[in-house]
Symmetry: D4
Subunit: 223 residues, 8 copies
């Protein structure tokens, strides 16, 4: 196993794939560009592809200048290494949002699904204030193995979908909104209190977390 | 004007009808049966009908024993004086609930609408986890002058209705539920964060408050 | 119906007017200037006027440069398209504030009322610490079809007004204040706990929401 | 000084009067009837009168059976020793409440004022939803040295009074109310955020605390 | 389809199985024994088995007296109808708890899994304060299709398991504990903030909700 | 009385002195420099001195450039008009702080006392972690008519002082601190829960509010 | 090692002493009397003494009837097995309380210290509202190896002590108090925000937790 | 004793070492560079070394320019005076972190331990999502006199360590994380609710506080 103790600040978990089925990924937030570059280099040495989430444009620019082969997506704030691909899962994940402002979180989820080899069906701005938008797409959503419902505000999207489809639904509250319950608390509580069945929840704005849940379900259960 | 200073504990506001269009009502909770009886007697002297909310069976029994002509409804926990009727408003209020457990609050609202002379259309257990239940009744709801949406849990009923009808919607969160956001906080926040238009909110479990809002809208605007 | 799927980020709801009586509007916050410009263009294509709220000076400048005919108001942070006018409602809404700092939210409400064809009566800085200011204006307020009470700090303005007039009152807590209950929590809780009748509440700083509630009441009930 | 170490559970502070001007009092809640009886006996030995607050009927009955000369008031839940009187202060404190349910806390305040020799002017149920009730009594309130404003729900009583009188106002939020902000949080926040001047606040339901503040002001400043 | 409008208080959703793959179940809490009995009768008429959760001994006794064939389990507080069995899923769910006090919630989950035809592997009191207890059982847990981790207090059980196995983990915070973060808030927040992958969360004490999530994953993905 | 309706944004309360004994003051925060300048001009026209709190350097510079005779203090963030002096009260207020970081709030209080003609005794950094610092100054503090205790962190300064002196104590929590209870919540709660007598509380960082309470006590009671 | 899997509900950790230096203890709350009895029997079989905390009188009575040799203390709510003694530590722990109502939690701490062989110095009702009570005992407290400071209300006792002694202080907030910050939140936050050094905190009412911390310090460091 | 009243803003506590065993240190946050320089000069005059925490680069630069002999560490944000050394304690403190982002807080702790003469063993990024990382280092950790466990997110590191070692553990929650429980609330609550023994907690991000607790334990108990 390659040395994973990088300059005393991080212990990469290259054994994770053996334990959980999915290789280690990187949470970019709070890391210096130098730290991130060293981590990408370590993955390259280990001959593993890598996905970093919550990255800044500054981090991406540093990696580009440092000659690291990778791709930066400013909407989802992800950086993916080039060259090696994952074929970890084979399945379809529908990623739906209540509004336009939820898209960055949804894209983080979709990019994660795609990093691990899955397909992502994007259906954005189908919130419940205009139900016809969702009902018009429900047949498409029913084809997915797992549904990720991303919503801020009153956060009811996941409940409505879970009542209409047979797939498991992972709900992601977003920090979209203001006033009482701002920062995602209102949709988080709504999702935890859902009266629909088959809905589980991840933390506010955790698009990556929802995606890795969906991927694990597919890999473990669908094979 | 009749004397309204009852034994130094309450100052009844018999002038309210002149100011706001609606006679005073009584919040029963926390009052002793004796206090409530004196208040009912004062209304009788003032030749005004009276509605008391949040009353207990014990209060109701005391009034009955004291020979006060009134009717007790255990579901809505209201006591209404007999003999004089209100013809304050003329209109239809739809009172919808998400679940069975929201019925007591909805009944408090419906009884209040009826006390002031309005008609109440009751549609219970039409929550969003099974949308067909609501969509099957939406034409009936569209006939109402005002809609009162009573819901606990994720509290999305009002948002969905407000996106489908033209009437103003008053949303009442209920303390139904448990865990995070229990006590009505989750549906309250969801309702305040509704992305639907035309929805305003009253306090948790305040069926009376929603009804008096609806009645005021009808009286002031429909005449 | 015009195509409403704009570059995959938004699904405009041009059918809303048929369902709820009011055309779609736009929440500007969090949208890029480009997205907002595309949305304004779509409304023009659909031959509908449009109101955007929570807009920045940067968004307004972009629209102006892009040659979109519209008007930007920096106090209320609204942008309204020019050319087509709404005559959706006919009524008078009194918009009152407790203090000077509440004015931006009150202006958002007033502009919304005016966008839909209503009249707005502005009465600012009439908070309860100097009651004579409010009492001196109460006869004017009594002429309104609906009252919008905008207040931060202890948030008691709505309660006092609702006890003095016959019109429905929509209360808007503002994020004015500091310390315990900052961010609008103190006035929100005060308004939800109002002992006055006929008062309903919208989310903190939601001037638009209060106005659209008032407009719906007028359109549905006054005709 | 008498021995004040009673059975190892309490250290009575008989030196307090020398330091702060007021003799020690007793917080009855959570003490066993036996403990309370021993404390009353110690005060008797020390030849000092004593006031106990938050007492239960059970505690009162135990003291009566034990032959301790004292008076129990079930509304304010206070027990006052008989025989020796306090003439600590000379002044008038107006004790006002927003509603009927606030009376027990107001009575705790009034009894405390009277225990220390002051006069209490009781004005109950003068809340702001019917302003005429308060305005009709304002001249009486203006005669007080200090005003104690006791209110639950939206808690605006103190703000309105402080804007109309020259005396210092001590505001007491009460746990009257339900839903969001229940347990006194809503009026506490409203009082802390008051835009009126001259208003300070004590903890929820702390009628005793407000009274001892008022008494200290009178003793220290009026002499 | 059978009539599902029972005495105007509930609208049973017998069409749910067609939409989501799982038949309707009943939330017993807050329902009167009479209401529950009518619901069980309606299921019998519909020839469907039924699971009721959060039931009291009183409800169970009423059903028994009413001659309804069902089984009451006091630990999990579930009532299951007799006679018809579900064969909805085929899979193994590991149900682990941190402590002894979490067992009732874990049993609710296990009974739900079994109601729908799955197998439940119970592993109780394997919390992280004594890691050897969990590590000694990890090979058994690795055989499960889905893991349900039930924990109160610091709620770290799910994180540790999710780092060691390949199956999706549904975490259930319980209201076990006291002091700051009591009522399940501490473990809920810990689970939402888990740095392990593949963990999603349901509301506090919602053993049923976790189980139906697990069952949906198995049915949808494993077939 | 002078015209007090300034450009429709503020209604100055020049009658306040007659009602409450103290002239109006101005809350600078959130006002534009132009608004503040107009307000200072209106006070000059009314021949009244004015104190503005929570002012920025930018506001102060604007007033200076506009030729308004006033004094800016950057520590307390106050601006006081020059020329006319207040002789409203005659008394001594001790202003104590727990630490160095509390000084700006304490200075706001001291400047307010001085604006109204009182004397302020400043005793800073006498917090309870080194009790000898406070005990060494207690004789000085005992000479004050009122004590203002300004403290962040655990906020115990007011309790300790109130147990040692006979004057009323007004406690001001400050937003000094970090982590749990940050923003002043920890000292606010500590002050509200004080077991010392004679302590009342104002909102977090409200040095002005504490001072005007102290001044009112002195004016009303000491004469 | 003895069998520690008792009827499938608990896995006793008899190896703990080897790992951490202290034998397992039992949290009695939430366990049935039968479960507790089985656990005591298991300890007897393992020839280890046992301490159970948070026990009820009902549990104690059951154990007594079952013939288990143990001692029940109703104030601290502890049950200790008879026969075998612990000589785990040798040291002195001062257990101080702010008030009388904090005694049960302090006794839980003291009994725990004594169970493990240490000495407990009890100093109750020495809160900061009357500092002379604490200062008069400070020389005794200075002799302790560790100080446990138990306090509710404003919770400042630990800060004052930590500023006066050289021993480590473990602070225990108690749920004594009412109103804002009730349930121990106010003292918990005060303790976490202490500006004194050498103070660490355990959860509200966790007397046992503080004691085991103190014992570990003594055993590990003093030997 | 040297004059410690510096320009009226601070009262340095040079007597602290005599009382508590440790010399005074300085909390840099919120102090102006000038204030900090004066404080460092006062320590030099008093011939005492000094540690300042939470310092900014700007403060450090000012001290350097002012010719004060000191060392600035940007990771831990500490400034330590040069020239005089502390030999207050003799012991080993293990400082562990859950992740990379917790390092600044851990370094604050380690630098504090070293300032007082102790040895710090740094073990970073050994969080529980990959248990093997911690288990591989546990023998090293077991050699420490005290363990400081620094963790954000779900904050379980301290619990796991406390179950595996005999040393007292001081847990430091960090403000690392996002969403529900952000700002360190989630790990704080998890640590307070730990089911492991021997764990006490300091405030969020308070690395200094944990270290001074550890040092006090070592000095007082190990000698």
């Amino acid at each position: 196993m390659p040395k994973n103790d990088i300059s005393s600040f991080a212990r990469l978990d290259f054994a994770r794939k053996a334990r959980t089925g999915f290789g280690e990924t990187v949470f970019g937030q709070g890391k210096t560009p130098e730290q991130l570059a060293k981590i990408f280099a370590a993955f390259k040495t280990a001959r593993q592809p890598v996905l970093a989430t919550r990255c800044t444009a500054e981090q991406a620019a540093y990696l580009a200048e440092a000659g690291i082969a990778c791709e930066w997506d400013p909407v989802s704030r992800t950086i993916v290494s080039k060259g090696r691909h994952n074929h970890t899962i084979d399945g379809l994940v529908a990623v739906c949002t209540g509004g336009t402002a939820d898209i960055p979180i949804a894209e983080e989820a979709a990019k994660t699904v795609e990093f691990f080899g899955g397909k992502a069906l994007r259906l954005f701005d189908v919130g419940i204030a205009g139900l016809h938008r969702l009902l018009g797409k429900i047949d498409k959503i029913r084809k997915a193995d797992v549904v990720i419902a991303v919503a801020g505000m009153e956060g009811a999207l996941g409940s409505v979908i879970a009542g209409l489809v047979a797939a498991p639904v992972v709900a992601v509250p977003t920090s979209v909104g203001y006033g009482a319950g701002a920062g995602g608390i209102a949709p988080l509580l709504a999702m935890l209190n859902s009266c629909a069945e088959g809905l589980s929840v991840v933390n506010i704005d955790n698009g990556f977390g929802a995606a890795i849940c969906a991927c694990r379900m597919i890999k473990r259960l669908k094979g």
